[in-house]
């Protein structure tokens, strides 16, 4: 289990490759990457605030639950905070399991919890002003399936 909360960019390809390479006996590896998206065409940058201390704790709890619930062999979570530009990677998770269903479900479970239960807040700086990102109903609803 590897959990990192950092302001620096991370190397998605290298992280994904290293994660997959160290999985002895696992047949399936799933990764998810979140990228700063400029949906309206006016985003200058995104700023992510977090709650140092609680963030790591919450991510560890979710990772532990995913490990046991889906019998994962391993979990990786990297989440950035601070300022990012459109196209930059915000975060990634990776899961490994003997079979693909568990690897997929583990990654989706982690993402659903991370979206609405880990203390991160996104602020969008656009050409017309700044705004805290409102939570999406879909994200809260997604938790209902677990």
């Amino acid at each position: 289990m590897d959990i990192r909360v950092q302001s620096d960019p991370f190397d998605f390809g290298a992280e994904a490759e290293a994660f997959a390479q160290r999985q002895g006996g696992m047949g399936a590896v799933v990764t998810f990457t979140g990228i700063v998206r400029d949906a309206a065409g006016s985003l200058v940058s995104m700023e992510i605030e977090h709650y140092p201390g609680m963030t790591e704790k919450a991510l560890e709890e979710h990772a532990h639950e995913a490990l046991t619930r889906f019998q994962l062999g391993d979990v990786l979570i990297v989440h950035r905070f601070g300022a990012m530009r459109p196209g930059e990677m915000i975060m990634m998770v990776a899961t490994a399991a003997p079979h693909r269903a568990d690897a997929f479900q583990g990654a989706e479970f982690l993402m659903d919890y991370l979206k609405s239960r880990a203390p991160f807040w996104k602020k969008e700086i656009t050409r017309s002003g700044t705004d805290w990102v409102a939570p999406r109903h879909e994200d809260e609803d997604a938790l209902g399936r677990w």
């Binding site: 979140g34 992510i48 605030e49 977090h50 709650y51 201390g53 609680m54 704790k57 919450a58 989440h79 915000i90 975060m91 993402m111 991370l114 979206k115 609405s116 239960r117 880990a118 203390p119 991160f120 807040w121 996104k122 602020k123 805290w132 990102v133 409102a134 939570p135 994200d139 809260e140």
Partner: protein, 81 residues
């Protein structure tokens, strides 16, 4: 007791953290106390349904007791990932 504020709660109150003395027995009592203090607190806590609270870094409800709690954090719904 240490109070922490994040995102727009922090912006409305105008500071990221403060240390207070309180006799409030629950989060709700603490919120009532803060709202009575100043307009900026009243504005930050106007709509509790738009707020979340963590006690010693664990998510909690507004009716949770404060016995032994050292750190209370208020913030909007989380938007990570």
């Amino acid at each position: 007791m240490q109070l922490l504020y994040f995102a727009w709660v922090r912006e409305r109150i105008g500071l990221p953290r403060e240390t207070i003395e309180t006799k409030a027995r629950t989060v709700a009592e603490l919120v009532a106390e803060l709202k009575a203090r100043e307009d900026r607190y009243a504005a930050a806590f106007a709509d509790l349904s738009a707020l979340r609270v963590a006690l010693d870094q664990e998510l909690a409800d507004f009716d949770a007791p404060l016995d032994g709690v050292r750190e209370v954090a208020f913030f909007p719904p989380m938007t990570g990932g």
